[in-house]
Symmetry: C2
Subunit: 393 residues, 2 copies
């Protein structure tokens, strides 16, 4: 029988031009810490300036932390938190891609809580202490379409010393306000557009086959799969196609909601292990490398759900032998990868060695065991190693 808890307390402004509304939208305080990446994009595109102008317009003071790099480290989160705490900031504004928003969430949490972020992390070597205080309110201005962090409380953060990349969050790390303006994504180059779009795709697909799927998450998942299947090849081909960009931004937003109304599965744990040892690997790219092996393995355990996903991607299963039907999803996935030019991605290109597979599987099991519990078939360590090996090129 259906049973679930639902809570998405984030207010989302979605659509072209919505960033302009930031100057009128009620904001949770008078002094903000603005978190941006260490790159130049937010400055060069004018996005950061538009955010600062909106804050000025509201008479809100701010300071800027601009040292976030991709796959944000615990160290940068702690540094940003220290600045927010020392300066008595009222709230945190993240402006950028998923890494930046996640760093902003982490900073908002640690600005209000003592000790180290890893004191609170509940898996891996985290100490799992209860979070005592609510995070500072978080405003997210997202400039990529993929992670869905704009609509969930999750913070993906890497502990570089320990080689742990862990997803963590509490109710107060939902953004209070998220602005999803597809115009801000126009400058993302084709390769990143593709791997980020696939990240959203995998959130939806994993959420759909997870034990934790609910009627709400299922409605979102199927829409994400349909939207990405139709629109991702278009935006990879022509990044200026604002209608397709809007559809992908919507898919990413909904995939973020899938991550709270359902859950990711072990595929995400496996990729986190890859990123933990190879932080230069984009998350979506890592997912792409293991995806065919992963979904091929699970097809036989959740056939009905694979068939539904395949149908959303335009596959026809009538007339096929019953046992082949679920694999049409893997077929559609492979075709989508080809259309988006990301079918060639190889672990070896990112320096991952063939003999790392067991180490990665062990890290995945240890660091994010929680997601393995969401699988409808429980993977043994050896099966996990085998999936990595099947994926290795």
């Amino acid at each position: 029988m259906i049973e679930f808890n639902f809570s998405i307390p984030t207010k989302v402004l979605f659509g072209v031009g919505k960033l302009d509304e930031l100057k009128r939208e009620p904001l949770p305080g008078r002094l903000a810490l603005v978190v941006v990446s260490n790159g130049k994009t937010m400055k060069e595109t004018g996005c950061l300036d538009r955010v600062l102008t909106a804050l000025d317009h509201q008479g809100i003071e701010y300071m800027i932390f601009d040292k976030v790099h991709p796959n944000p480290s615990k160290a940068s989160v702690m540094e940003a938190a220290q600045i927010a705490r020392d300066n008595f900031c009222d709230f945190v504004v993240g402006v950028g891609g998923a890494s930046t928003i996640d760093a902003a969430k982490g900073a908002a949490l640690m600005a209000r809580n003592p000790g180290d972020l890893w004191d609170y992390i509940v898996t891996g070597s985290g100490k799992g202490k209860p979070v005592k205080n609510q995070a500072l309110p978080i405003v997210a201005v997202i400039t990529t379409s993929g992670s869905g962090t704009e609509a969930n409380p999750w913070i993906d953060v890497t502990n570089e010393e320990l080689h742990e990349k862990i997803g963590f969050g509490v109710p107060s790390t939902f953004p209070t306000l998220s602005i999803v303006d597809p115009e801000l994504v126009l400058t993302v180059p084709p390769f990143l557009t593709a791997v980020q779009g696939f990240d959203a795709f995998f959130h939806a697909a994993e959420g759909f086959i997870a034990k934790s799927a609910t009627p709400i998450s299922e409605a979102f998942s199927l829409q994400v799969i349909r939207l990405i299947s139709k629109n991702l090849p278009k935006v990879v081909q022509d990044g200026s196609d604002i209608e397709a960009r809007t559809n992908i931004a919507l898919a990413a937003l909904l995939s973020g909601m899938v991550q709270v109304t359902s859950s990711c599965t072990s595929e995400h744990s496996m990729e986190h292990a890859m990123s933990a040892f190879h932080p230069e690997l984009p998350h979506g790219a890592g997912m792409l490398m293991i995806s065919e092996a992963y979904f091929s393995f699970f097809a036989k355990y959740v056939p009905d759900r694979f068939i539904k996903m395949a149908h959303m991607m335009g596959e026809v299963t009538d007339g096929l032998p019953e046992e082949e039907k679920p694999y049409t999803f893997v077929h559609a996935l492979r075709q989508l990868k080809e259309k988006c030019g990301v079918d060639h991605l190889k672990m070896s290109d990112y320096g991952i060695q063939a003999d790392e597979m067991e180490k990665l599987a062990r890290n995945a099991h240890k660091t994010m065991s929680n997601l393995f519990a969401m699988d409808r078939y429980t993977l043994s360590l050896q099966e996990n190693v085998d999936i990595f090996k099947a994926a290795y090129r």
Copy 2:
């Protein structure tokens, strides 16, 4: 191009047995005003006792206001608000059907704001003053499946002197917490089960054909229509069918979300006029009486959307002439009414006279003009009268 704002800040606990979680769930204060209906049901079923026991368990004190009647009046809302204000209540708990939850929301709002509720109402003869203060936090324990008030800020309240029944809400009248436990609905008798279920159905269908439909509301709407079409005849037949009850409770919840991610249309304005003059008319029954005439009128203006809704109800449109396809939705609606034993409802049974049609149409236009603006075809007053006349029996 797609554009929308999304905000559903309510935490929902959904499923059989969820009421038991009230004793562990963080609640927003130490002193509650508990609002229940003037009937005996909540006392006889033990539901009220279970809520009070949960509050006791948390050491929360409370007082009880038990004078809410169906189609709650402004007077009872103001009376409850006065009690909450005089006693410095921290939050309001509504326990009951939609009328009770709406009264609780109204009381929570007016406990924190000066003057009269009609000072703030934005349509009809409401003065449209801005609401200065946030409502007290609201906890909803819903015991019917239909209105969706558990997942939206809307308060349907009747000004008996002025014959105005108006829907009104502000962001702070979203419940903070809603408990949707299908076991609490088991005792609702067949007729009310049917009309309340149809209320959810109409929220979904109106939200789907409204101008304001968004991808999120559309996903919810289609699921509501499918769930109700499949399960409402079952629960009308056998009220103890907990699985079907659960599906209808889910449909009602999602229909509440449709009302904030899209909107109702003029059909709701029309029914509110009927209830305003005939407060003993159940809202869902009023909707049922006008529904076939209403949807028959709009079928030609929104054909694609009618066809999609028909498909969710199992209608096959292949091979039909194009112009007939949208009317298959009206056909499916008529069949669903028959299966639920509510195809015979007549306005005259509730004392509505044939010569009231123009008065009702004028009231609808004046009192809730805002919903007419959501229609994809703008109804003239005469067309509105004609729909009422076509529906009259």
